[in-house]
């Protein structure tokens, strides 16, 4: 068994000069202070060295998805110039911000827009990327960045098969979720056993499209 409490009472015993010095409060305080300086220096070194890499990682997470979202998987190798805008939308007295990437081809032609959108899912927040064509008339693709839906059911929203339904949908009409087969253009087939997750994703997309439709111009 592990001895969890080996703190023993200080025994009164004659101290030699050296021991007295070692156990005085000044030396102890000095030790903690030195450790603080040492650790502080180490941490600032780590921060200076690694922070640029971490920031880049965070940005890349979004950026590397953009070509695939806008141009489709077959032409995803094409390089795009990206510019980040923050778009402010006023909704019922509440301000909502969207981080929108403007993507242009090398020759300056607008390729489309990619925005980050968040909303409530079945279990937790769902964070996704939504690609729109230059005039925001069509959805070009959807990618789920973060979700905690039920494994085996709701988390099928991340699959290519389900996400690809959104590509090519027009933004004129709101998307609706139906069960068991799509009959009209603006319909999305629900994942069986995960209707709420499917509806949540569609609602997030509808809201984002509706907020941004008028604001994105080439």
């Amino acid at each position: 068994m592990v001895d969890m409490n080996p703190l023993k009472p200080l025994q009164p015993m004659p101290l030699s000069m050296m021991q007295y010095f070692r156990e005085s409060y000044i030396v102890q305080g000095w030790l903690v202070l030195m450790l603080c300086f040492f650790f502080g220096g180490t941490l600032s070194g780590v921060q200076l060295k690694l922070n640029p890499i971490i920031e880049e990682n965070k940005a890349n997470e979004t950026k590397q998805r953009i070509p695939e979202l806008l141009l489709g998987p077959s032409e995803a190798q094409q390089p795009l110039d990206l510019k980040l805008h923050t778009i402010e939308v006023e909704k019922k007295g509440r301000k909502v911000f969207y981080n929108v990437y403007e993507a242009r081809f090398a020759d300056g032609k607008l390729a489309g827009w990619v925005t980050k959108a968040v909303g409530q899912g079945y279990a937790d927040r769902i964070e996704l990327l939504l690609g729109l064509d230059p005039n925001a008339e069509k959805i070009t693709g959807v990618f789920i960045l973060d979700q905690k839906e039920t494994p085996g059911l709701g988390n099928k929203i991340v699959t290519e098969k389900w996400r690809s339904q959104f590509a090519g949908k027009e933004t004129k009409q709101l998307l609706t979720v139906v069960k068991g087969g799509v009959k009209a253009d603006h319909q999305i087939d629900a994942i069986s056993g995960a209707t709420i997750s499917s509806k949540s994703v569609t609602a997030i997309i509808n809201t984002a499209v509706n907020d941004l439709k008028g604001k994105l111009r080439g």
């Binding site: 969890m4 023993k8 070692r22 030396v27 450790l35 921060q47 690694l50 890499i53 971490i54 494994p151």
Partner: protein, 200 residues
Amino acid sequence: MAEQPTASERFIQGILPENPVYRQVLGLCPTLAVTNGMKPAMTMAGAVLFVLVCSNIITSLIRGLLKPHLRIIVFTLTIATFVTIADRFLAAFMYDMSKALGPYIPLIIVNCIIICRCEVCASKQGVFTAASDAVGQSLGYALALSSIAIVREVLGTGMIFGYRVLPEAWPDWSIMILPPGAFLTLGLLMGTVNWFSERK
């Protein structure tokens, strides 16, 4: 005072006889949370290895200067610093994993294993013994994590490290990668380990 174990004894004790999870029942929070796959479990074990070795070495180096009433502060300071370093390194070089592990990396600070090893071993013994104790304990921890993670990942998804080992027809037991699966697996494995060690 009782004779302190030597470096090799410390090393071996950490792996099975004093296994941090099965024997000492310490550090259960990350054990349960990150074992839904082998990859996060091994990353976690690596982070614990780094933090435990570094803080054991530092503690052992300054053990002559420490006084009882200040030692907990010094331990915590040391551990928190190394956890921050480990966290930053993960975020810089294994961004996916750092995102998947989320708050459980910083929670190593309050993991009882590390402060317990600083207290029991490193603050009393030399640098070499402390280091081998740290490696032994972390290996024991890694062993415990991987035993749970293998059961959960294979039954939950039919895969290990993302490679399929069970046939496609396997109906994934989603419950195993959900929170209840963690409790059930650990409970059953713990009972099994107890049963084996009693039979010996």
